[in-house]
Symmetry: C2
């Protein structure tokens, strides 16, 4: 299989989310073609067909896709046919916001442990999920079979926490700390950089003013 | 000028951040070429040259870039040579985390007003920034010359707030609410979808297991 770029994977996730709703609304006997899908998502149908082509043949020529079937295949491709156990590192404002975020649970991404070094938080249970000291990362990650970690600690603490997570067996990290983390090549790291998102907006505004 | 894709703009922001630190460390008389820049950022030098080529000629053949000059040009291109006034809508956990986020202020992106509909928050001042009722959006946006809005309200409230912001003159919105907002074509909308970020990780983990 050709290796699809990260951006294709992100778009498959967008198609999946649309189909989840579409199947609920229209029922399993409906069909949808790439033009209709593209129109609903304000995208290019050629792009959609290309993204899907990395993973084989979908739909019937002239008939379009069966939405339920496509949804199930996308879930499988994206690794969402199974449940994943996540841990959340850092229970400050951002950690609280991420924990409350509905989207994760809908995707069967379950936060099963929280790590924070504040003495008044350690040992407490937050909506059924226990808060542990970072010292316990190694043991808890193994016991709870945690695959994915969300790093939402202050920048100064992020590398040390990341090293502990990787030593414990975590292979995928979503990092919110605004620093460049060093991870070995077998670990997948995604950085969410909030100021980078805003810069697309400042560019847009200033290029409007210049033209 | 050819219109550069959003992804090139995001990468220019990455180059800029690197150069901000580089100039501080190495001083203004240093030089750097695209190979060195690429190596430091774990990127492809061809990609860097292509991204820059949208905006004219940079550096001297065989001599590389003057980092201070490149930094200043990137600031200008990205609209960061001036200060922008932002408002933050929604002062829940996510809003608090965004307000505390250091990266914005470093880029001269100043949050100058907060909107929230909680009666116990309205009228209070948070680190020098006043919290207003969303009813005041129209007046405050104009008075404080706000260009960019961050939407961090619950999904149910996001479209109504967005409509108010646009009516008041906001032309760029960074949306954290997990819904698709409708905005006119002259408004630039960026969505930050946290579960989409995680799906790249579940894809990575499950494709590792399958091979």
């Amino acid at each position: 299989m050709r290796q699809p770029p990260d951006i294709s994977i992100s778009r498959l996730a967008v198609y999946l989310r649309f189909l989840e709703d579409f199947v609920k609304e229209k029922g399993p006997d409906s069909t949808i073609n790439s033009e209709e899908l593209a129109k609903s998502l304000d995208m290019n149908p050629h792009q959609i067909r290309k993204d899907l082509s990395y993973f084989g043949k979908f739909g019937e020529r002239g008939k379009g896709y069966r939405p339920e079937e496509l949804r199930d295949k996308l879930r499988q491709i994206l690794g969402l046919a199974k449940k994943w156990n996540l841990c959340l590192c850092g229970m400050g404002n951002l950690g609280n916001a991420l924990f409350a975020y509905q989207g994760f649970r809908q995707m069967r991404l379950d936060i099963v442990a929280i790590f924070d070094n504040a003495p008044d938080k350690i040992g407490k249970t937050f909506k059924g999920v226990k808060i542990f000291s970072p010292e316990r990362i190694s043991r808890v990650v193994k016991q709870l079979n945690i695959n994915i970690a969300i790093v939402a600690v202050p920048p100064m603490a992020a590398q040390a926490v990341t090293d502990k997570l990787i030593a414990a067996g975590v292979r995928a990290i979503l990092n919110f700390a605004p620093i460049k983390l060093n991870v070995p090549s077998y670990v997948k790291l995604r950085n969410v950089d909030l100021s980078m998102q805003l810069i697309n907006l400042t560019y847009f505004l200033s290029s409007c003013q210049n033209t």
